[in-house]
């Protein structure tokens, strides 16, 4: 826990001046963001706004081009492995191997995260998403919704303090969606930090404590949920997307 002062403990994520460029294209152009521990942040934005890039940088999959990222007070640059231990990632891709069974997949990821008493833990997370009966089925034979539920189980194996959810509802059916949020609730005990990207304004408004709109790699809007109603948010979102349409025309 070196380098973590009590003051920075309260922040789960601190991002300062984060940019990410792909050649000439700037995907993120100066993001400043602070997320308190236990906060639920929802990021909206049109396609290509940089949502996925931001999540990938926070998930340590992509290196930032410039700027500083702290997770639990740890700098992303030199503590990537320690940070990875504390985050769980769910995207619309499941990260699961179709040729392996449910159990084998979860066993593999448990090994990667050094999960203690992994057998019990696997049974625990699998029953949490209601997949106990499919423990020895090959993942490739399961339906899309089931695979996604397993993906949630996978992300919770190591009890991460921070969850990064990149459009997790994409391609999910209704039961799977409610299962997702139930699983996160049970495990979270109200203090897990969550960052969610989505296009669904109503859902995000319902879930989040803090709402952001990302547009062309910049945060163009940031409010806490108490301070606004849904209509406000919709207007802001439409404004940012309309701006884009006007420019393209």
């Amino acid at each position: 826990m070196e380098g973590t002062s009590p003051a920075s403990q309260a922040w789960a994520i601190q991002v300062q001046g984060l940019t990410k460029s792909f050649g000439n294209h700037l995907a993120l152009r100066g993001i400043d963001l602070e997320v308190r521990q236990g906060e639920f942040v929802v990021i909206f934005g049109p396609n290509g706004a940089g949502k996925t890039t931001l999540i990938k940088v926070l998930a340590t999959i992509m290196n930032p081009s410039s700027g500083r990222v702290l997770v639990n007070g740890l700098n992303l640059k030199n503590n990537a492995e320690e940070i990875r231990r504390r985050i769980g990632v769910v995207t619309h891709q499941t990260f699961l191997y179709g040729n392996l069974t449910t159990y084998e997949n979860l066993e593999f990821y448990s090994r990667m995260y050094d999960v203690p008493r992994l057998k019990e833990r696997i049974h625990e997370v699998v029953s949490m998403v209601g997949m106990t009966s499919r423990l020895y089925d090959r993942v490739g034979t399961l339906s899309r919704g089931m695979q996604q539920r397993l993906s949630i189980a996978r992300s919770l194996l190591h009890k991460p303090a921070i969850m990064l959810l990149d459009e997790p509802e994409m391609g999910l059916d209704q039961p799977a969606i409610s299962m997702l949020w139930k699983a996160l609730e049970i495990e979270g005990e109200g203090k897990r930090t969550i960052i969610l990207t989505t296009n669904n304004l109503e859902r995000g408004f319902e879930l989040g404590d803090c709402l952001l709109i990302l547009d062309k790699g910049k945060i163009v809007y940031q409010r806490s949920t108490q301070a606004l109603d849904l209509a406000d948010l919709k207007q802001a979102y439409q404004h940012s997307t309309r701006l884009e349409h006007e420019l393209l025309a």
């Binding site: 492995e81 891709q93 191997y97 179709g98 593999f108 990667m112």
Partner: protein, 222 residues
Amino acid sequence: MSFWRNVIAITWKDALSQMRTKELVSSVLVFTLLVIVIFNFAFGASQETMRLVAPGILWVTFAFAGVLSLNHSFILEKEEGCLEGLMVCPISREVIYVGKMLGSLLFMLIIEAIALPIFAFLFNLILSLQLVVITVLTTVGFVAVGTLFSALAVNTRAREMVLPILFLPIVVPIIICAVRASGLALSGEPWGSLSSWLQIIGAFDVIFLVVSFLIFAFVIEE
């Protein structure tokens, strides 16, 4: 020793997954057999010419079989974004390289263990310890660069084409050495006459294991 624990977990997962892909195992084996048979027609069946061209046929076969299986190694990781899943695990990028490399090595050695006796049987040759050593050493060289290039090729368009285009020119030196050394081994030469070939293969293995280990992170990290 969590490094090796994680490496073994990846290797095991890879080996299991590759072995379960029945199309892969059978297609690589059938391919191997086909190449041997086709070359047989190409060069005529006289015992003497066969002796001469057998090592060449063997290594052409193994090189292409290697391309097939190496290609698959990272296609496996690409399908459900699994490579990103590995990258968010609390392991260094090097663990991923070593794990994948050993997985491909294991898979190729199994294929070769099946193909070599068939080869010896069809060409009337005697398998020796020398041939086994040459095969293992050369295969290590194949997977050392192959794993690096496979991770690279899978992120390009026409990935099935990119891997052989990259891989084959780079492994030219060890293919030459393996062909020569196998030729000597098959004609019953002592270890001493093989040594200079084996040394080059060994040097290639060491150099490219180290280089690939060092630069692998640059391939998978944006």
